[in-house]
Amino acid sequence: MSTKQSAILETTDLCKRFGGVLATDHVNLNVLKGEVHALIGPNGAGKTTLISQLSGLLKPDSGQIKFKGKNLTGKPAHKFARAGLARSFQITSLFADMTLLQNVALAIQANAGHSFSFWRDATTDDRLLEPAYHYLQTTGLAGNADRLASAVSHGERRQLEVAMALATEPSLLLLDEPMAGMGTDESNLMVEILQKLSGEKTILLIEHDMDAVFTLADRISVLVYGRIIATGNKEQIQSNPDVKAAYLGEASNGEASNA
């Protein structure tokens, strides 16, 4: 990956404090157009806090978030999404009482502009259902289109998360631990799905699974106690002494407590 590419997402000195804890400590993060950028760090490093700010659900105390050159700092979440930034949730956040197809169709509808259409039947509208079905296929869920989101397995819900994020046709996909709580088979399937996407999408991936990160990521940033201590490619990160001390050294403990 050439480093001359332009940054699609850029944060400058981003800070977020919860009481006495500086959960995000002057974070300067660049995500380049077209790359898969992984954000790793031990439990409690502030990864989810950071991604929540990057998707507008949390407001930073100071610092700046620039996306595609526009300053989005302090804007509400739906403005972030409208600007082309989609996220999946670590704890799955779906429309449990709707089918998988309806879940994705809602995402497509949201992306298609306002929904102040009161009369035309949207539940049989091919302009929503066909692309929705397409994204279910992309994420390996086509066979489950008519099942309720509350009735499918954990792994399938995670896939649905990705399908919904994709359906908003984002310029940047924020994936918050897409493999969390998955078995080996489910994880492998997810890695496959993400690998297929990696050619076409810019992805910021937060993930505990080191194998997945090293397989998928072009660049990796390491977050420890709210601070980014290193950014680089796989080899640079693996050989970085700070990273070894702070993260990889205790990875086995971290994984165990995470399971």
Partner: protein
């Protein structure tokens, strides 16, 4: 792409559809027959049932499909009824020339407009809260209208106001109980059709998405507030229209009809009948009227069994009566 996978219009109609259809058919046929065979009392009961079902259908849009527990919907019923009473009063006794009229279209327009406006103003503020706060603030707005009307000594204040002349329309006369029932019944059908269309539209799906998971909707880029506000305005307008019918039916209006307990009764109908089921409010209104008529003869504390029934239905019948019907269907579907 397999077209058949995406569309399921070819599915056979579920049992609940036929039960709802039969219910609506019975409502069209039975009350007129009772009236013609010399039991006008029952036509009155059914007229009230249909008007309450209409108001509950309006509430269902917000409470059932929108997941917003509005505890102030009786205010719209009251506003609609006073939109009949006040112009009629002035037409008879002078004053307020701008609205003094017996013209039914004026009454109707006023009822819908004032209710929609009230819904817009109070909804815009209420929607800044959620959960219990939303319930309390909608109730507070309802009570605000209640006390405002009590303070209007001109129109009877606490004692209420008798409507001496019903709204006048060309060709039909609402003084004929059958005509009035027909109008109420057709209005209910129309409202059901409107709610049916809305809930299947993009607007309706957005509303239901916000009920299901509002944070998720926001991260999909949807500003839920605007959709919920429009839903509240539509609901308020329909409920105000129901108030217009109620005023013409009872020919007596008082602040009591917009008391918070009335709002509670509407909620009772929606929840017992089955929130987010199209015909749920009709079942709810029917159950309400039935219990009221039966229990009122037995005991003056007839609200107590009501409360118990509601608790039981919330605990054991998810989706109320319609939900129970729906489960009946899905069990029947299995081989």
């Amino acid at each position: 792409m397999s077209e058949t996978k995406l569309k399921n219009n070819s599915k056979p109609r579920p049992l609940s559809f036929w039960i709802n259809a039969i219910l609506l058919l019975l409502l069209a046929v039975v009350p007129p027959i009772l009236f013609i065979t010399g039991q006008p009392f029952w036509l009155d009961v059914f007229t009230r049932l249909v008007i309450l079902a209409l108001a509950a259908t309006a509430l269902n849009l917000v409470l059932g499909y929108g997941g917003l527990v509005s505890f102030g919907h009786a205010a719209y019923l009251g506003l609609g009824a006073y939109a009949v009473g006040i112009p009629t009063y002035h037409a008879l006794y002078g004053g307020m020339d701008a609205i003094a009229s017996f013209n039914g279209f004026l009454h109707l327009g006023l009822a819908v407009l004032v209710s929609a406006l009230f819904a817009l103003l109070t909804g815009a503020i209420s929607l800044r809260t959620r959960g219990v706060n939303f319930i309390m603030i909608t109730m507070a707005f309802g009570q605000m209208i209640f006390y405002a009307i009590v303070a209007l000594e001109n129109y009877g204040g606490d004692d209420g106001l008798t409507i001496d002349v019903r709204s006048e329309f060309p060709l039909i006369s609402l003084d004929n109980p059958l005509t009035l029932y027909g109008l109420c019944y057709l209005s209910l059908l129309m409202a059901l059709f409107i709610v049916y269309k809305i809930t299947r539209s993009r607007f309706g799906l957005t509303l239901q998405g916000a009920r299901s998971n509002e944070e998720r909707m926001r991260s999909l880029g949807v500003n839920c507030y605007r959709y919920q506000l429009v839903a509240i305005v539509i609901s308020g307008a329909i409920c105000g229209y129901a108030g217009f019918l109620l005023g013409n039916f009872s020919t007596f209006i008082s602040p009591e009809m917009m008391d918070w307990t009335r709002s509670g009764e509407l909620m009772f109908m929606v929840i017992l009948g089955g929130a987010a089921f199209l015909c749920g409010p009709i079942f709810g209104a029917a159950a309400f009227i039935l219990l009221e008529e039966v229990l009122r003869d037995v005991t003056i504390h007839w609200h107590l069994p009501f409360g118990l029934l509601l608790i039981l239905s919330v605990l054991f019948f998810r989706g109320g009566l319609s939900g129970a019907l729906d489960r009946l269907r899905s069990q029947g579907d299995k081989p």
